[in-house]
């Protein structure tokens, strides 16, 4: 887990990289691609459900960010701006597809009802890297059963590796709300996965 100081250092790093890019060192943008592509890919993958499509959409998100880099407001974190672009790109793709898969909230429609699309295919997730397949499958299943709002926070926090403060900025939520919702999501997972987690209890 990243501390606040570490997070601040990362944010400063992004700003420094962006300054270099704008000053003409366009190859420096590769640093940002290297840093955020895997995180964005996991996030977009959870929205569109197809890994290959997620790969292309993340590329599209980077291209869109590149095109609008001169309009980027540096008072916001670059990471949250990039995630917002990726989210919009993924949602645009789903709308084009119409019968797409999504595990995340789309916000409210014109009638004030929350739009949700549920995943038809969970696809690959970082959980696939776990050696304990039984635990990985159980965890994936239980995360899939969480309410979409909780599921999205779990994905952003643990699959994409965003800090609480980054999630709060991205989702326009108070930091306390993010922490509270994540705590509740963790508690639900802890309860339903108690038997598996009990075996790991000695882990530090």
């Amino acid at each position: 887990m990243r501390s606040r100081d570490t997070l601040r250092a990362v944010v400063e790093d992004d700003s420094d990289v962006l300054r270099r890019v704008r000053a003409g060192d366009e190859a420096a943008f590769g640093t940002l691609i290297r840093r955020y592509e895997p995180k964005l890919r996991v996030y977009v993958m959870q929205i569109v459900g197809i890994d290959e499509e997620a790969r292309d959409l993340v590329q599209e998100a980077f291209i869109r960010a590149w095109r609008h880099l001169d309009t980027y407001d540096s008072t916001f974190r670059f990471s949250t701006w990039l995630f917002r672009i990726a989210h919009n790109v993924a949602i645009d793709s789903l709308r084009r597809r119409r019968h797409g898969t999504i595990s995340l909230e789309l916000g409210e429609d014109g009638d004030g009802d929350e739009q949700r699309i549920d995943p038809a295919d969970p696809g690959r997730t970082p959980l696939d890297a776990l050696a304990n397949r039984e635990l990985a499958d159980a965890l994936a299943r239980e995360i899939g059963r969480l309410a979409p709002a909780y599921r999205e926070l779990i994905v952003l926090r643990h699959f994409s590796g965003l800090a609480y403060s980054e999630i709060a900025e991205l989702k326009n939520l108070p930091l306390g709300t993010v922490k509270n919702k994540l705590f509740r999501a963790h508690s639900v997972l802890r309860e339903v996965l108690g038997s598996y987690l009990g075996q790991l209890g000695g882990l530090k």
């Binding site: 995180k39 590329q59 590149w66 609008h68 926090r157 643990h158 963790h186 987690l197 790991l200």
Partner: protein, 153 residues
């Protein structure tokens, strides 16, 4: 504090975690999640996306970005002067050559770009203007391509 995961956990809390199955499970879950956060993209991925990026938009506003077009246009104009007309064969070429010479004479006579343009237009030299534009764009494209090739090399 387990949830935040910040800094060392106080010894009394550590002792509580050791006794409490729920807290142990909670920490085990967070430890599990901490191990699956994605790392960095590989070189191939970075190269694929970098290659797909268009020309930087903020560069289009730079005066330097017009340099290739300027060089292309200048090269086309110089070529026209050196050749003494439009380099084309046959009757059309002869006509265009005469037209080019006449236009250059007109340009030299009026010594002013706006007057020269007016002269060109009133003299019906639209074809010559079109030819100049095509050669300027072509020259610009060629110089830009050369510069890009040089940049990659």
């Amino acid at each position: 504090m387990i949830e935040d995961g910040r800094g060392p956990v106080a010894s009394d809390l550590e002792a509580h975690v050791a006794r409490c199955a729920g807290c142990r499970a909670h920490r085990a879950l967070l430890t599990l999640f901490a191990g699956i956060a994605p790392g960095e993209a590989d070189d191939a991925t970075v190269a694929r996306i970098t290659a797909a990026l268009p020309k930087a938009p903020w560069r289009r506003h730079s005066l330097w970005s017009w340099l290739p077009l300027g060089i292309g246009a200048a090269a086309a104009g110089l070529g026209l002067v050196l050749l003494g007309g439009v380099p084309a064969g046959g009757a059309v070429g002869g006509f265009l050559g005469w037209l080019a010479s006449w236009t250059l004479d007109s340009l030299a006579a009026v010594r002013g770009s706006s007057d020269a343009m007016r002269t060109l237009v009133t003299a019906g030299s639209g074809w010559l203007l079109a030819w100049l534009a095509i050669v300027a764009l072509g020259g610009s494209w060629a110089v830009t391509a050369l510069l890009r090739r040089g940049g990659r090399g």
